[in-house]
Symmetry: C2
Subunit: 600 residues, 2 copies
């Protein structure tokens, strides 16, 4: 509940601040006069300044704050620990950086889903630590991961104020399986967030005072020294950000090329106009509306129309330009989400098809004896859901489209479009998030299809790492030290005797090194002190709670690692430690299976 | 795809047949004349006959066809094998029985969700077997379970023609976790089903010929002998069903008590009227509509009105009566679903509250400076979702409410009602399906909350079954036979020697008994033949792919059993077989933890 309410407050405050900045920009652009140079400058300086600041500021605090954060979170949810990634001190950097990115509006054309999920997970990790401290409980890794999964759901849900699709989308993107418990917690927190968000909106429209109380109450505590802020100038990254922002802003300059791509509309207005019911092509066939000096709030879609280019020209031009502009924008190191731009591009694709159909069948298509005119807005809805679903490999984008529009009447066609898009994209490429994980070389467990692997008789003995550094209780200390220094693994299997090799436990490297360093007196040469003494002297060992056999199949092992978010397991045969399996071995085994080495 | 299309065909055919039967009943009731006795008989004979036939017929084919089937499927999805439960020969019994049950309409007040899920799973199991046979593949248990999960989703989805909530509902009810893969397959199959269903409706309304072709094409092949049908008379159960049907039909007789509970409406009409926007209490405050001789299709809600009882009286009476009538109906052994009645009762509860509020605030409640009249239909929607969500412990009933109404504008209030209902009901009682599982004494794994158990230091050694019947390779055959006959476990742990007790594999009871019986010559007394020889002679052993340690925690073990749908695991300590853990031990350990034994 705390998480939901906090995220709603943050989302609301950010929307409020961004709205003010955008309004100021619009005012400046309107009031600056008619000179083209001044207008051009007022159009471009804003995003250039905001983006350099966003990029430089957030990068100077922490390099983790760039990008969407979803790929890293996906990695963390599979059990990998990324140090400091959820540290609360990144929070300020991400909030400020994201606000600046979003305040550039449709010029830079980036969204906020991914960063919001990251923010939500940060807060949840922080709340978890606070709770553990106050309750005096030790932290439980499994519980932490559960909490992160729920927090991810809250993040998506607060962005769209759409609890259903938020929860489902985050589940689909984040994991290959999920427990119904998490789903519950996600729904509860997301509902709290959505409710709070709505409540704030009501208060705000009713009485300005409550908003201002809230404004002064809500402070983002940025725990870093002020001089650090200006340190970023040395990083050089802002200059790249500024250059990219200049290019993007110049292209979208409304009296220039921007005229052909509806660049005076905000991203929300893009969506609203694209989902419009009426066919623009039919409406402009006989009359051509003039290009207003200001976007007309009643007829925002005029922005999409150009007398010579027509609707089709602007839509196609929008698609082509925004496509490479989005690629350029993703290269800027700053907090930004990539879901919304993709959703809008999908809507434009759908709209293009819908308008074309409405020209081809101006009377509508005959079905069941009745003639219904074609609604290009429906095609735009399906296009948005299908394209974003294909890029992220999810189906819940269909539900998101319904929650955004408040109507679920198009359920069947939209769902079918999303399914078809998924079938094609899943066979051709990894999802956007998986692709980023691979590109960033984050650890990940490849997803294997049951069909491909279930029938292969590959078992653990074929791919396990059998060159283990084993510690035996009767090992002399010299050998122990040699073994420890010869490798850098984090855990050592502990066996009863060098002869029997019966696995009895696990020794953590850190504990062992500590124990060896604190007791230097007892291992004078010639005294024949062995590992047993060090263990008795206070080095803790962990029991082996789960062990594989050489006969366990690859499929079973993969399921186990995937479901239980494991990192390493030891393999025993008749009680003897014979090997270990970690992600590295699993990944290698799977890739060998998919692309078998050429026979010599 | 085949599954979705088949289920749509079945659902459509059943709807068609049921519609005809119901229409015939209505016609009979209308045409039979004004005599009360004749009318009463025409009202009651139909359901009595249908129900006795439904109960007797389905029970004579198989006792498995009674009830909803969801609890049994839930048990199967957790890995337990219920023999013959998915046999295709039950299919005919279930289809015919369910059609008869549903044809009784609102008199008996039962639904079809559960049975449809059972039907869908039966077909999917059958298709799976056909596929395995034609492809020459061996059957894979994990894959089978995945397919069953997807089929369950299709079953729910085809009933409501609501793919989203269908898939989610089945997931929530069926399992404590689920893989995103299954969710996909469920969506795909459910969409195929919903599309086919829609297509059939279009064909049917356009040209009667296609329906009739379809009618003749679709045949339910009932694989049993005709005389068996009449065997049910001896079972005695139909007489109970007939008696219960007589009571239920008598109570709902419209000129009698039925007048006060809108019994002339079908279940679908109950729902449609309860979701009506206008406040009936306000509309009938000054004028009282007459009770029409026939339900007026334009104003079906008149059925809910009685001049002296008022709307509140009929709604409250409906709730009280339907509540115990539903309990009575559930005791009849025949195929029937219990979700729809609960959904309608919830809608009536919500409607009652909504009507009361509309009387208390006839002008509407002031919010944000505007006055909006209260819409009791919205309360009915929330009530239906909340009550059915509370009974089944699911949240997706909220989504179902939206898919049924085609609007998602009430998202937040409905979701909040469902969450609140869930919080209360989950703390007070098991879900309807879990309760049935317990009452039927089906095997199940209790659900443990992380909080309660995560912090308890209970590990496997505290609760494992340590009185194992262990077979050693060097055991003389006499001892082996003694061991095998002394117990009836299905699997024996096989150890290397009697002395070392190192676990090397698992021997199935059936294989061992077979091997012992086929080689009686070699174990003449005095020859000192041992188990090793039997194994070498062709008795297969299975490798131990996963083993527990005495130090594994209860929480970890539970997660493992739950996620991997395991039945039994052996416990080894330093390679020696020391015990085994199955559901029985786990259940006992969990119940001890929740209700600790009183200290002496």
């Amino acid at each position: 509940m705390a998480l939901g309410v906090l995220m709603a407050l943050i989302s609301y405050a950010m929307n409020f601040a961004i709205g003010r900045v955008v309004r100021a920009h619009k005012w400046l652009y309107r009031e600056v006069g008619d000179g083209h140079l001044l207008r051009y400058l007022s159009w471009t300086v804003y995003p250039v300044a905001l983006l350099s600041f966003s990029s430089g500021f957030s990068q100077s605090i922490t390099p983790f704050s760039g990008g969407s954060g979803l790929p890293e979170l996906k990695t963390m949810l599979s059990g990998v620990v990324l140090e400091d990634y959820l540290d609360i001190k990144n929070f300020g950097a991400k909030v400020v950086g994201l606000s600046c990115t979003l305040a550039t509006g449709s010029t830079i054309f980036l969204g906020k889903v991914g960063p919001f999920v990251h923010l939500s997970v940060m807060i949840s990790a922080y709340l978890g630590r606070v709770r553990a401290k106050t309750m005096g409980e030790s932290q439980n890794k499994a519980k932490e991961i559960e909490m992160l999964a729920a927090a991810a759901a809250v993040g998506v849900a607060t962005v769209f104020a759409a609890p259903f699709s938020g929860v489902l989308f985050s589940i689909e993107v984040m994991s290959s399986h999920f427990s119904v418990w998490n789903y519950w917690r996600g729904f509860f927190a997301a509902t709290c967030g959505a409710f709070m968000f709505r409540l704030l909106a009501v208060f705000n429209s009713e009485q300005e005072t409550i908003t201002s109380i809230y404004k002064t109450r809500f402070r983002v505590d940025v725990p870093f020294d002020l001089p650090e802020i200006f340190f970023f100038v040395a990083l050089g990254k802002p200059s790249y950000a500024a250059l990219a922002a200049l290019i993007l802003a110049s292209i979208t300059y409304p009296p220039g090329v921007g005229r052909f791509m509806a660049s005076r509309l905000s991203m929300a207005e893009h969506l609203r106009t694209l989902f419009d019911n009426n066919s623009w092509a039919l409406m402009t066939r006989n009359s051509s509306p003039p290009w207003p000096a200001e976007p007309d709030p009643q007829n925002l879609w005029f922005e999409w129309y150009h007398p010579r280019f027509t609707i089709f020209g602007t839509l196609a031009f929008f698609l082509v330009m925004k496509f490479w502009m989005l690629i350029l924008a993703t290269t800027i190191p700053m907090p930004a989400g990539y879901f919304m731009p993709i959703f809008i591009i999908g809507a434009a694709i759908g709209r293009l098809l819908g308008e074309a159909l409405s020209i081809a069948f101006p009377e509508g298509i005959v079905a069941g004896g009745e003639v219904n005119p074609i609604m290009p807005g429906g095609y735009a809805l399906a296009g948005a859901a299908a394209f974003s679903g294909a890029v992220t490999h999810t189906i819940s984008t269909a539900l998101l489209a319904f929650e955004l529009t408040g109507q679920i009447v198009h359920a069947l066609p939209v769902l079918m479009a999303v399914l078809a898009a998924n079938v094609i994209s899943q066979n051709c490429q990894p999802s956007f998030y998986d692709g980023t994980i691979m590109a960033k070389k984050l650890p990940y467990l490849p997803w294997i299809r049951g069909r491909k692997i279930g029938s292969h008789p590959v078992s653990v003995e074929h791919f396990m790492n059998s060159t283990l550094t084993i510690l035996a209780k009767d090992m002399p200390l010299e050998e122990v030290i040699k073994a420890v220094t010869s490798t850098d693994v984090a855990q050592f299997p502990l066996v009863e005797t060098r002869e029997s090799q019966i696995l009895v436990g696990i020794v953590e490297r850190t504990h062992l090194v500590q124990a060896l360093q604190t007791e230097p007196a007892s291992w004078a040469p010639g005294q024949q002190c062995c590992l047993q003494d060090v263990l008795a002297g206070g080095c803790p060992t962990q029991p082996v709670t789960l062990q594989l056999s050489p006969e366990t199949s690859l499929y079973q092992t993969h399921t186990l690692f995937d479901l239980l978010t494991l990192q390493t397991l030891f393999v025993t045969s008749r009680g003897r430690a014979v090997g270990s399996v970690s992600w590295v071995e699993l990944k290698k085994a799977i890739s060998t299976l998919i692309n078998p080495p050429a026979p010599k």
